[in-house]
Amino acid sequence: MTPELSASTTSVSSMTTPSPSVWAHWRSFDKRYLAPMLITCILAAGQLSFGFLESYSRTALAILIALVIEVVVGRIFWGQWPNLASAYVSGISVGILVRSPAFWPYAVCSALSIISKYVLRVKGRHLWNPSNFGICVMLVLAPDVVASLSIQWGNYLLPMIIVWILGSFIIWQVKRFHICATYVVSFLLLAYVRSWITGHPFLAEVAPITGPMYQLFIFFMITDPKTTVQTTWGQCAVVCLVALVEMILRLHESVYAPLYALFLVGPTANLIEIWWHSRQPATASAPYPI
């Protein structure tokens, strides 16, 4: 869940010729910082209104570990100080989504998330969304101390609406709204299919997407520019596939179906795209952002 919103989404002209208008100021804003701002707002609102964090200290630990590792590893490997927006979002995501009574899972999950970006790479491109990778690994390897049930924000509509509006606006700004919309539509359609197959109430199948974990999943995880394919139609196809795999996992009663679905589909799609590009000399050498 690391929306390292790249500089390519920012209008260069507006940055170089700032307009006095508010809109111009907005357009000149480095949109890499939108995601950290949004997730910080979500964290603050959730904590102040509901107190949804396991504890301040655990979340702080997750963020701190993510930042430190990003700085150290980034500096050593690339010889420059990395932009910390991505690591910050990864750390905060771990701090929100991991639920554990112990401290160490927060540190280990954050560390795994960040290091996975540097270790699990193919042709200079990392495959997994970092926090998606870290959380899935922890859920599989440490189920006795780690969980991530999506109930810790309260189940009321108002905070959801605020998150949806704010999130949609920001995602629209960075031109990735089509990914979110495609996923939501796919989920709803497949919820109907699941309801038809299982005989369970349709609203029971829809229920998860009305929960807060999905807001993070939709706005941050599946839209991560670094770990999604590059074409618009490809991005839509991939999230359709994520929703489909999620449905299959749900039919097998996997509690963390969306996380696992992205864990499986995301890297596979990336690998296919990397392979596809490698067959085309003109694009094969194009550098992928870190």
Binding site: V137, L203, V206, G211
Partner: protein
């Protein structure tokens, strides 16, 4: 160093991090208790006590029955009708032997009052005395009972809380239980899962607190709507109201709930009262399902002030199902144990052991959760728990029941539960939207825990080794010295399962002392009286309770384990009236009958 070497090192670190959970799991697995099938002598030598299940041999054969609620709830009936197995200890006839009252929850089922014959056997006298036939169709079913001498005649009276019409029975000389509900001023219908006796204003008369679960306007047998479920899994506020009923002294109770500042509509499952700040007035702790716990400071008996967030206990919402207090560090202060839900890989709320923060007291009292550090965090889908010195070593131990719905062993409802629990309030609050259970289990077949306290703040689970091996769906547990031998026995009731009577045997070199208190200016049950015992450089405080745990009430008698070579300096009794009485070097190995001085 070149980048290739750095890359290899990073890879090694990555693999090491991946292996961390596995390694930690193996390390923690090394701290296993003694084998389940170890010889009894070995268990006694190592832990100092051992249980033996003797219900049948003692003449008790009881299986809890569950209600059959409105057919609209049929798809999720096992989950809705999942409570009601409750037990309370009382010496109903003042013969010096502790008796057992058990709630039943099937329509038409009978509650039981097992009178202790004093010879190791029990007889059911509920029907003969009048406290059995309390679950008639149309009146609701029992969820629990608490005993307290509300009329100060020397005999403990019975308050029965139900999903339905609550009942009050006056105990007439230990021979009859006379129903006095009609004139008592009780609410006509509640869906309550907890009630306790307390003398909140210290006027010498026992008052009553009742905690509602489902809203009181809901008749679970005749639903007008299926929108009766919690409106949030962790922040629900559409539960039953609370009742604080002041005893007027004329057989009637007056509703002072709102007047005294209690307006919560959270889903209460357990409550207990104790003087947590040394003011002399009992404070009130409520463990709520689907939300945060609530702590009410009692301001001089004229106001209850909710201080959950301020004190630290009302911050993280969980699924509170138990409230019990105990002086776990022998430092003269109460810690509070709240049980929650822990299911591996799905939901790890962890139980809470709220320990007073060092340096905080009185108005500024704060708590921190040390359940993990002290080893009492993960039990399962936990329900009732009680503190008691099970091996008489001088430190309070903890007995915990677990397990929610045991049905098909191979099929779990957890996936569907998690699906709906994360949903929006309009979805989760309507029972019609909940997927059917279809015979599946939900945290079923779980073991109970017996955590022994090593005296340094560490607890170790020895349940299997000391003979607590059943895996029925545990609900209430009550501790009492049923054989007057100076050992705390455990009565466990399981939902839709058997009552289990665990007789305790303690090594003889661990000393003990107990106090049976009787108030004079204070309420005669002495509920709220504190006994502070000083021995061998230790200090432990206990308080006579009008209900604690989940659906349970321990014996009113306070029992202290003392360990080896004990020398008691003194016992200081602070009565609810405010009087302080000191007993110098009371005799060890005795049950002391103490009356409040004039």
């Amino acid at each position: 160093m070149n980048r290739r070497i750095l890359g290899v090192m990073l890879g090694i670190l990555f693999v090491g991090l991946m292996a961390t959970p596995v390694v930690l799991n193996r390390v923690s697995a090394r701290h296993t208790p003694i084998a389940v099938d170890a010889p009894r002598d070995a268990v006694m030598a190592r832990y100092g006590f051992c249980f033996q299940e003797v219900a049948k041999a003692a003449g008790i054969e009881f299986t809890h029955q569950v209600p059959n609620l409105d057919p609209q709830l049929a798809p999720i009936m096992p989950m809705v009708a999942s409570m009601g197995a409750a037990v309370s200890i009382v010496d109903v006839d003042r013969d010096g032997w502790q008796d057992i009252y058990v709630a039943n929850s099937g329509e038409g089922s009978r509650n039981r009052l097992y009178r202790n014959r004093g010879d190791g056997s029990f007889e059911d006298v509920a029907a003969a005395m009048g406290g059995a036939d309390v679950n008639q169709v149309g009146t609701g079913v029992s969820m629990g009972a608490v005993w307290g001498d509300y009329d100060n005649d020397g005999y403990e009276d019975l308050f029965l809380y139900k999903w339905g019409r609550p009942e009050l029975f006056r105990n007439e000389q230990g021979r009859r239980l006379v129903r006095v509900t009609a004139d008592a001023g009780l609410p006509s219908w509640i869906n309550a899962n907890t009630a306790i006796w307390l003398d909140y204003d210290r006027d010498g008369r026992l008052d009553l607190f009742i905690g509602g679960y489902y809203a009181e306007h809901v008749n679970l047998w005749k639903l007008e709507t299926t929108r009766i479920m919690p409106d949030s899994f962790e922040y629900a506020k559409n539960g039953g109201r609370k009742y604080l009923l002041r005893n007027r002294g004329d057989g009637r109770f007056e509703d002072v709930t709102e007047k005294l500042g209690i307006t919560s509509r959270r889903w209460a499952l357990a409550a207990t009262a104790a003087d947590l700040r040394g003011t002399g007035y009992p404070d009130l702790f409520i463990a709520n399902d689907y939300g945060v716990s609530e702590l009410y400071f009692n301001d001089g008996g004229v106001r209850f002030r909710e201080v959950g967030k301020q004190s630290g206990v009302g911050f993280a919402p969980k699924s509170g199902m138990n409230a019990a207090v105990g002086d776990v560090f022998n430092q003269g202060q109460f810690s509070i144990y709240v049980t929650n839900i822990s299911e591996e890989g799905i939901l790890l709320q962890g139980n809470n052991l709220w320990v007073p923060k060092a340096g905080t007291s009185g108005e500024h009292l704060q708590y921190e959760n040390l359940a993990r550090e002290m080893g009492v965090e993960l039990g399962g889908w936990s329900f009732g728990a009680q503190f008691g010195d099970l091996n008489n070593d001088g430190s309070l131990d903890l007995f915990l029941t677990n397990g929610f719905v045991s049905a098909d062993r191979d099929k779990s409802y957890w996936y569907d539960f998690s699906k709906i629990a994360g949903g929006n309030t309009t979805i989760i609050s309507d029972a019609q939207n909940w997927p059917p259970m279809e015979g599946r289990s939900l945290s079923g077949f779980q073991q109970k825990r017996v955590w022994i306290n090593d005296g340094t703040g560490q607890f170790f689970d020895v349940a299997q080794a000391v003979g607590i091996t059943d895996t029925s769906d545990g609900r209430a547990v009550a501790l009492a010295d049923l054989w007057n031998r100076g050992a705390l026995d455990a009565v466990v009731v399981n939902q839709q399962g058997p009552l289990l009577l665990y007789k305790n045997t303690v090594v003889p070199d661990h000393a003990w002392i107990a106090f049976d208190l009787e108030g004079r200016d204070s309420n005669r049950s002495a509920i709220g009286a504190q006994v502070r015992l000083f021995w061998n450089g230790h200090e432990q405080v206990q308080e006579v309770s009008g209900g604690s745990g989940y659906g349970a009430q321990n014996q009113r008698r306070v029992h202290f384990g003392l360990g080896k070579e004990a020398h008691i300096e003194k016992a200081v009794i602070r009565w609810p009236s405010g009087k302080v009485q000191m007993l110098t070097a009371p005799q060890i190995g005795q049950i002391h009958q103490v009356k409040e001085p004039a």
